[in-house]
Protein backbone atom coordinates (compact mmCIF):
# COMPACT_ATOMS: atom_id res chain seq x y z
CA UNK A 1 0.00 0.00 0.00
CA UNK A 2 1.46 3.41 -0.92
CA UNK A 3 2.55 5.57 1.96
CA UNK A 4 0.01 8.24 1.04
CA UNK A 5 -2.73 5.64 1.45
CA UNK A 6 -1.39 4.58 4.82
CA UNK A 7 -1.27 8.22 5.81
CA UNK A 8 -4.95 8.68 5.07
CA UNK A 9 -6.71 11.89 4.24
CA UNK A 10 -5.76 15.00 6.15
CA UNK A 11 -9.08 16.58 7.00
CA UNK A 12 -8.19 19.73 8.92
CA UNK A 13 -11.72 20.57 10.00
CA UNK A 14 -12.30 17.07 11.37
CA UNK A 15 -9.00 17.39 13.23
CA UNK A 16 -10.07 20.82 14.49
CA UNK A 17 -13.41 19.52 15.68
CA UNK A 18 -11.83 16.62 17.56
CA UNK A 19 -9.08 18.77 19.04
CA UNK A 20 -11.74 21.15 20.37
CA UNK A 21 -13.28 18.43 22.53
CA UNK A 22 -12.36 18.73 26.19
CA UNK A 23 -10.90 15.46 27.55
CA UNK A 24 -11.84 16.50 31.08
CA UNK A 25 -15.49 17.02 30.28
CA UNK A 26 -18.22 14.65 29.13
CA UNK A 27 -18.70 14.97 25.38
CA UNK A 28 -21.49 13.67 23.18
CA UNK A 29 -20.80 12.66 19.59
CA UNK A 30 -23.36 11.51 17.04
CA UNK A 31 -22.04 9.26 14.28
CA UNK A 32 -24.46 9.00 11.36
CA UNK A 33 -22.40 6.29 9.70
CA UNK A 34 -21.79 2.64 10.42
CA UNK A 35 -19.64 2.36 13.50
CA UNK A 36 -15.99 1.51 12.93
CA UNK A 37 -13.24 0.52 15.34
CA UNK A 38 -11.26 3.64 14.53
CA UNK A 39 -14.12 5.87 15.62
CA UNK A 40 -14.53 4.06 18.93
CA UNK A 41 -10.79 4.11 19.54
CA UNK A 42 -10.51 7.83 18.75
CA UNK A 43 -13.30 8.88 21.09
CA UNK A 44 -12.45 6.38 23.84
CA UNK A 45 -9.77 8.85 24.90
CA UNK A 46 -12.58 11.16 25.99
CA UNK A 47 -15.38 10.92 28.51
CA UNK A 48 -17.55 10.23 25.52
CA UNK A 49 -21.07 9.22 24.79
CA UNK A 50 -21.12 8.05 21.19
CA UNK A 51 -24.55 7.82 19.59
CA UNK A 52 -24.70 5.74 16.43
CA UNK A 53 -27.44 6.06 13.83
CA UNK A 54 -26.88 3.81 10.85
CA UNK A 55 -28.02 6.19 8.14
CA UNK A 56 -26.37 4.12 5.37
CA UNK A 57 -28.71 1.24 6.21
CA UNK A 58 -31.77 3.12 5.01
CA UNK A 59 -30.26 4.88 1.98
CA UNK A 60 -31.57 2.20 -0.44
CA UNK A 61 -35.07 2.50 1.04
CA UNK A 62 -34.95 6.29 0.82
CA UNK A 63 -33.85 6.11 -2.80
CA UNK A 64 -36.85 3.94 -3.68
CA UNK A 65 -39.33 6.23 -1.94
CA UNK A 66 -40.81 9.03 -4.07
CA UNK A 67 -42.75 10.84 -1.36
CA UNK A 68 -40.77 13.34 0.70
CA UNK A 69 -43.09 12.79 3.67
CA UNK A 70 -42.46 9.06 3.63
CA UNK A 71 -38.74 9.61 3.44
CA UNK A 72 -38.99 12.06 6.34
CA UNK A 73 -40.84 9.40 8.33
CA UNK A 74 -38.19 6.81 7.56
CA UNK A 75 -35.49 9.19 8.76
CA UNK A 76 -37.48 9.89 11.89
CA UNK A 77 -37.59 6.19 12.74
CA UNK A 78 -33.81 6.24 13.12
CA UNK A 79 -33.92 8.74 15.95
CA UNK A 80 -34.65 7.89 19.55
CA UNK A 81 -37.06 10.60 20.65
CA UNK A 82 -36.02 9.99 24.28
CA UNK A 83 -32.43 11.01 23.56
CA UNK A 84 -32.04 14.58 24.72
CA UNK A 85 -28.43 15.06 25.78
CA UNK A 86 -27.03 17.97 23.74
CA UNK A 87 -24.52 17.09 21.05
CA UNK A 88 -20.98 18.38 20.87
CA UNK A 89 -20.16 16.94 17.46
CA UNK A 90 -22.15 15.39 14.61
CA UNK A 91 -20.27 13.25 12.09
CA UNK A 92 -21.96 13.14 8.69
CA UNK A 93 -18.90 11.81 6.82
CA UNK A 94 -19.85 11.93 3.09
CA UNK A 95 -23.45 10.87 3.66
CA UNK A 96 -25.14 14.16 2.76
CA UNK A 97 -24.12 13.53 -0.86
CA UNK A 98 -26.45 10.52 -0.85
CA UNK A 99 -29.48 12.43 0.42
CA UNK A 100 -31.91 14.55 -1.53
CA UNK A 101 -32.35 18.17 -0.56
CA UNK A 102 -35.60 17.50 1.32
CA UNK A 103 -33.96 14.66 3.20
CA UNK A 104 -31.01 16.78 4.31
CA UNK A 105 -33.44 19.41 5.56
CA UNK A 106 -35.45 16.76 7.40
CA UNK A 107 -32.33 15.24 8.90
CA UNK A 108 -31.18 18.55 10.32
CA UNK A 109 -34.69 19.22 11.64
CA UNK A 110 -34.43 15.95 13.56
CA UNK A 111 -31.10 17.04 15.00
CA UNK A 112 -32.24 20.51 16.06
CA UNK A 113 -33.60 19.49 19.49
CA UNK A 114 -30.12 18.27 20.44
CA UNK A 115 -28.12 21.17 19.07
CA UNK A 116 -26.51 23.76 21.32
CA UNK A 117 -24.46 26.81 20.33
CA UNK A 118 -21.22 24.86 20.70
CA UNK A 119 -22.37 21.93 18.54
CA UNK A 120 -20.36 21.39 15.38
CA UNK A 121 -21.47 19.32 12.39
CA UNK A 122 -18.78 17.90 10.14
CA UNK A 123 -19.45 16.87 6.55
CA UNK A 124 -17.58 15.96 3.39
CA UNK A 125 -19.30 17.18 0.22
CA UNK A 126 -18.45 16.07 -3.31
CA UNK A 127 -17.39 19.26 -4.99
CA UNK A 128 -14.90 18.83 -7.80
CA UNK A 129 -16.03 15.63 -9.46
CA UNK A 130 -19.34 15.17 -11.31
CA UNK A 131 -19.23 11.50 -10.32
CA UNK A 132 -18.95 9.81 -6.94
CA UNK A 133 -18.97 6.20 -5.65
CA UNK A 134 -22.44 4.68 -5.90
CA UNK A 135 -22.45 3.91 -2.17
CA UNK A 136 -20.85 5.97 0.60
CA UNK A 137 -18.37 3.38 1.86
CA UNK A 138 -16.72 4.08 5.20
CA UNK A 139 -14.54 6.81 6.57
CA UNK A 140 -12.38 5.61 9.42
CA UNK A 141 -10.45 8.05 11.62
CA UNK A 142 -7.08 7.09 13.02
CA UNK A 143 -5.50 8.17 16.29
CA UNK A 144 -4.32 11.40 14.67
CA UNK A 145 -7.84 12.14 13.40
CA UNK A 146 -6.81 11.54 9.80
CA UNK A 147 -9.46 9.81 7.73
CA UNK A 148 -9.12 6.55 5.84
CA UNK A 149 -11.67 5.54 3.22
CA UNK A 150 -12.59 1.88 2.92
CA UNK A 151 -15.01 -0.20 0.92
CA UNK A 152 -15.12 2.48 -1.75
CA UNK A 153 -17.61 1.48 -4.44
CA UNK A 154 -16.05 1.22 -7.91
CA UNK A 155 -19.45 1.85 -9.50
CA UNK A 156 -20.08 5.55 -9.84
CA UNK A 157 -23.15 7.73 -9.92
CA UNK A 158 -23.76 11.39 -10.58
CA UNK A 159 -22.66 13.64 -7.75
CA UNK A 160 -25.08 16.31 -6.52
CA UNK A 161 -22.16 18.73 -6.04
CA UNK A 162 -24.03 20.78 -3.45
CA UNK A 163 -22.70 24.34 -3.46
CA UNK A 164 -22.12 26.28 -0.23
CA UNK A 165 -25.01 28.67 -0.81
CA UNK A 166 -27.30 25.78 -1.71
CA UNK A 167 -26.40 23.98 1.50
CA UNK A 168 -27.21 27.12 3.45
CA UNK A 169 -30.64 27.17 1.82
CA UNK A 170 -31.19 23.47 2.48
CA UNK A 171 -29.97 23.70 6.07
CA UNK A 172 -31.08 27.14 7.26
CA UNK A 173 -30.64 25.95 10.85
CA UNK A 174 -26.87 25.79 10.33
CA UNK A 175 -24.16 28.14 9.16
CA UNK A 176 -20.80 27.10 7.74
CA UNK A 177 -18.07 27.98 10.20
CA UNK A 178 -15.21 26.93 7.93
CA UNK A 179 -14.81 25.10 4.65
CA UNK A 180 -11.70 23.56 3.15
CA UNK A 181 -11.23 22.05 -0.31
CA UNK A 182 -9.39 18.80 0.24
CA UNK A 183 -6.77 17.37 -2.07
CA UNK A 184 -9.12 14.66 -3.32
CA UNK A 185 -11.76 17.15 -4.49
CA UNK A 186 -14.06 16.83 -1.50
CA UNK A 187 -15.16 20.01 0.21
CA UNK A 188 -14.88 19.69 3.96
CA UNK A 189 -17.38 21.66 6.06
CA UNK A 190 -17.72 22.46 9.71
CA UNK A 191 -21.17 23.84 10.46
CA UNK A 192 -22.45 25.48 13.62
CA UNK A 193 -26.03 26.22 14.66
CA UNK A 194 -27.29 29.51 13.36
CA UNK A 195 -28.35 31.82 16.18
CA UNK A 196 -32.10 32.38 16.37
CA UNK A 197 -33.21 35.38 14.38
CA UNK A 198 -33.79 38.49 16.48
CA UNK A 199 -37.44 39.48 16.41
Amino acid sequence: MPDEHKAGLGAPLFEQAVAALDPERRVVVLDLGIIRAGTVDLFSAYRCRLDIINLPDILPALAECDEAEQRRARLGELFDSRASEPLDLVLCWNLLNYLQRDDIHALIELLVPRLKPATRLHALIEYASPLMPATPGHWIPDADARLHASQVDEEQIESPRYKPKELERIMPQLAPERTVLLGNGLQEYLFRPRPPAQS
Binding site: E15, I34, Y46, A145, V152, E188
Partner: protein, 152 residues
Protein backbone atom coordinates in the same frame (compact mmCIF):
# COMPACT_ATOMS: atom_id res chain seq x y z
CA UNK B 1 -15.59 -18.77 21.71
CA UNK B 2 -16.39 -22.50 21.80
CA UNK B 3 -18.01 -24.23 24.74
CA UNK B 4 -14.77 -26.21 25.26
CA UNK B 5 -12.67 -23.03 25.49
CA UNK B 6 -14.99 -21.49 28.04
CA UNK B 7 -14.48 -22.03 31.76
CA UNK B 8 -17.72 -21.45 33.59
CA UNK B 9 -21.39 -21.96 33.01
CA UNK B 10 -22.77 -22.47 29.52
CA UNK B 11 -26.27 -21.91 28.23
CA UNK B 12 -26.40 -24.20 25.22
CA UNK B 13 -27.92 -23.39 21.84
CA UNK B 14 -31.15 -25.29 22.54
CA UNK B 15 -31.80 -23.56 25.86
CA UNK B 16 -34.18 -20.62 26.23
CA UNK B 17 -34.40 -18.70 29.51
CA UNK B 18 -36.87 -16.00 30.48
CA UNK B 19 -36.17 -14.15 33.72
CA UNK B 20 -33.25 -13.01 35.84
CA UNK B 21 -29.87 -14.71 35.74
CA UNK B 22 -27.52 -14.14 38.70
CA UNK B 23 -24.34 -15.89 39.73
CA UNK B 24 -20.69 -15.85 40.68
CA UNK B 25 -19.06 -17.55 37.73
CA UNK B 26 -18.38 -16.68 34.13
CA UNK B 27 -21.15 -17.39 31.68
CA UNK B 28 -21.25 -18.28 27.98
CA UNK B 29 -24.61 -17.87 26.28
CA UNK B 30 -25.17 -19.80 23.07
CA UNK B 31 -28.94 -20.01 23.51
CA UNK B 32 -31.71 -17.47 23.98
CA UNK B 33 -32.12 -15.30 27.07
CA UNK B 34 -34.77 -12.69 27.80
CA UNK B 35 -34.85 -10.63 30.99
CA UNK B 36 -31.88 -9.54 33.07
CA UNK B 37 -28.38 -10.95 33.46
CA UNK B 38 -26.40 -9.91 36.55
CA UNK B 39 -22.91 -11.33 37.00
CA UNK B 40 -21.32 -8.19 38.27
CA UNK B 41 -18.01 -9.74 39.30
CA UNK B 42 -17.71 -12.06 36.33
CA UNK B 43 -17.67 -12.13 32.56
CA UNK B 44 -20.56 -12.77 30.23
CA UNK B 45 -19.96 -13.91 26.67
CA UNK B 46 -22.80 -13.94 24.18
CA UNK B 47 -21.59 -16.53 21.68
CA UNK B 48 -22.18 -16.46 17.95
CA UNK B 49 -25.43 -18.39 18.24
CA UNK B 50 -26.54 -16.45 21.32
CA UNK B 51 -29.65 -14.28 21.13
CA UNK B 52 -30.16 -12.01 24.12
CA UNK B 53 -32.99 -9.59 24.72
CA UNK B 54 -31.93 -8.48 28.15
CA UNK B 55 -30.04 -5.96 30.20
CA UNK B 56 -26.60 -7.36 31.01
CA UNK B 57 -24.55 -6.24 34.00
CA UNK B 58 -21.11 -7.83 34.29
CA UNK B 59 -17.45 -7.13 34.91
CA UNK B 60 -16.54 -7.93 31.31
CA UNK B 61 -18.93 -8.55 28.44
CA UNK B 62 -17.99 -10.06 25.10
CA UNK B 63 -20.56 -10.09 22.31
CA UNK B 64 -20.24 -12.36 19.32
CA UNK B 65 -23.96 -12.86 18.71
CA UNK B 66 -27.11 -10.77 18.94
CA UNK B 67 -28.03 -8.51 21.84
CA UNK B 68 -30.92 -6.12 22.25
CA UNK B 69 -30.95 -4.16 25.48
CA UNK B 70 -28.63 -2.38 27.86
CA UNK B 71 -25.09 -3.71 28.23
CA UNK B 72 -23.24 -2.41 31.28
CA UNK B 73 -19.66 -3.53 31.88
CA UNK B 74 -17.77 -2.26 34.91
CA UNK B 75 -14.44 -3.07 33.24
CA UNK B 76 -14.94 -3.42 29.49
CA UNK B 77 -17.15 -4.53 26.65
CA UNK B 78 -15.85 -6.21 23.51
CA UNK B 79 -17.87 -6.37 20.29
CA UNK B 80 -16.58 -9.04 17.93
CA UNK B 81 -17.06 -8.67 14.19
CA UNK B 82 -20.01 -11.07 14.22
CA UNK B 83 -21.84 -9.03 16.87
CA UNK B 84 -25.21 -7.42 16.20
CA UNK B 85 -26.25 -5.05 18.95
CA UNK B 86 -29.15 -2.67 19.34
CA UNK B 87 -29.39 -0.66 22.51
CA UNK B 88 -27.16 1.11 24.99
CA UNK B 89 -23.65 0.03 25.84
CA UNK B 90 -21.98 1.48 28.91
CA UNK B 91 -18.41 0.70 29.91
CA UNK B 92 -15.22 2.65 30.61
CA UNK B 93 -13.40 0.60 28.00
CA UNK B 94 -14.97 -0.49 24.73
CA UNK B 95 -13.38 -2.52 21.96
CA UNK B 96 -15.06 -2.99 18.62
CA UNK B 97 -14.00 -5.15 15.70
CA UNK B 98 -14.87 -3.80 12.26
CA UNK B 99 -17.82 -5.71 10.92
CA UNK B 100 -19.75 -5.53 14.18
CA UNK B 101 -23.19 -3.99 13.72
CA UNK B 102 -24.26 -1.53 16.37
CA UNK B 103 -27.20 0.81 16.59
CA UNK B 104 -27.69 2.90 19.69
CA UNK B 105 -25.44 4.55 22.24
CA UNK B 106 -21.95 3.73 23.46
CA UNK B 107 -21.19 5.52 26.70
CA UNK B 108 -17.49 5.37 27.54
CA UNK B 109 -17.61 7.96 30.30
CA UNK B 110 -16.22 6.28 33.45
CA UNK B 111 -18.12 8.87 35.48
CA UNK B 112 -21.42 7.92 33.86
CA UNK B 113 -24.20 7.59 36.41
CA UNK B 114 -25.31 4.27 34.91
CA UNK B 115 -22.03 2.56 35.85
CA UNK B 116 -21.91 4.15 39.28
CA UNK B 117 -25.45 3.11 40.11
CA UNK B 118 -25.23 -0.38 38.61
CA UNK B 119 -22.04 -1.25 40.46
CA UNK B 120 -22.52 0.79 43.62
CA UNK B 121 -20.59 -0.66 46.53
CA UNK B 122 -18.37 -2.84 44.38
CA UNK B 123 -14.64 -2.60 43.97
CA UNK B 124 -14.75 -3.93 40.44
CA UNK B 125 -14.93 -0.50 38.95
CA UNK B 126 -11.53 0.41 37.52
CA UNK B 127 -9.86 3.74 37.72
CA UNK B 128 -10.81 5.97 34.83
CA UNK B 129 -8.55 5.66 31.78
CA UNK B 130 -6.10 8.50 31.40
CA UNK B 131 -7.38 10.77 28.66
CA UNK B 132 -5.04 10.70 25.70
CA UNK B 133 -6.92 12.68 23.13
CA UNK B 134 -5.67 13.01 19.64
CA UNK B 135 -3.78 16.21 19.28
CA UNK B 136 -3.99 16.69 15.58
CA UNK B 137 -2.40 19.66 13.98
CA UNK B 138 -5.44 21.64 13.05
CA UNK B 139 -4.67 23.75 10.06
CA UNK B 140 -4.61 27.49 10.20
CA UNK B 141 -7.81 29.28 9.27
CA UNK B 142 -8.02 29.81 5.58
CA UNK B 143 -6.03 26.72 4.68
CA UNK B 144 -7.20 25.33 1.40
CA UNK B 145 -5.91 21.83 0.88
CA UNK B 146 -4.94 18.60 2.49
CA UNK B 147 -3.62 15.21 1.49
CA UNK B 148 -5.05 12.57 -0.75
CA UNK B 149 -7.72 10.05 0.09
CA UNK B 150 -7.19 6.35 0.17
CA UNK B 151 -9.74 4.70 -2.09
CA UNK B 152 -9.66 0.99 -2.60
Amino acid sequence: MTDQQHRGAVIGPSIQIDGTLKGDEDLLIQGKVEGTIELKKNSVTVGESGEVKADIFAHTIVVEGQVEGKIVGSERVVMRKSAQIRGTLIAPRVMLEDGARFNGTIDMDPEADAIKSAFAGQSAKPSPPQPQPATPNASKPGSSSAGSAERH
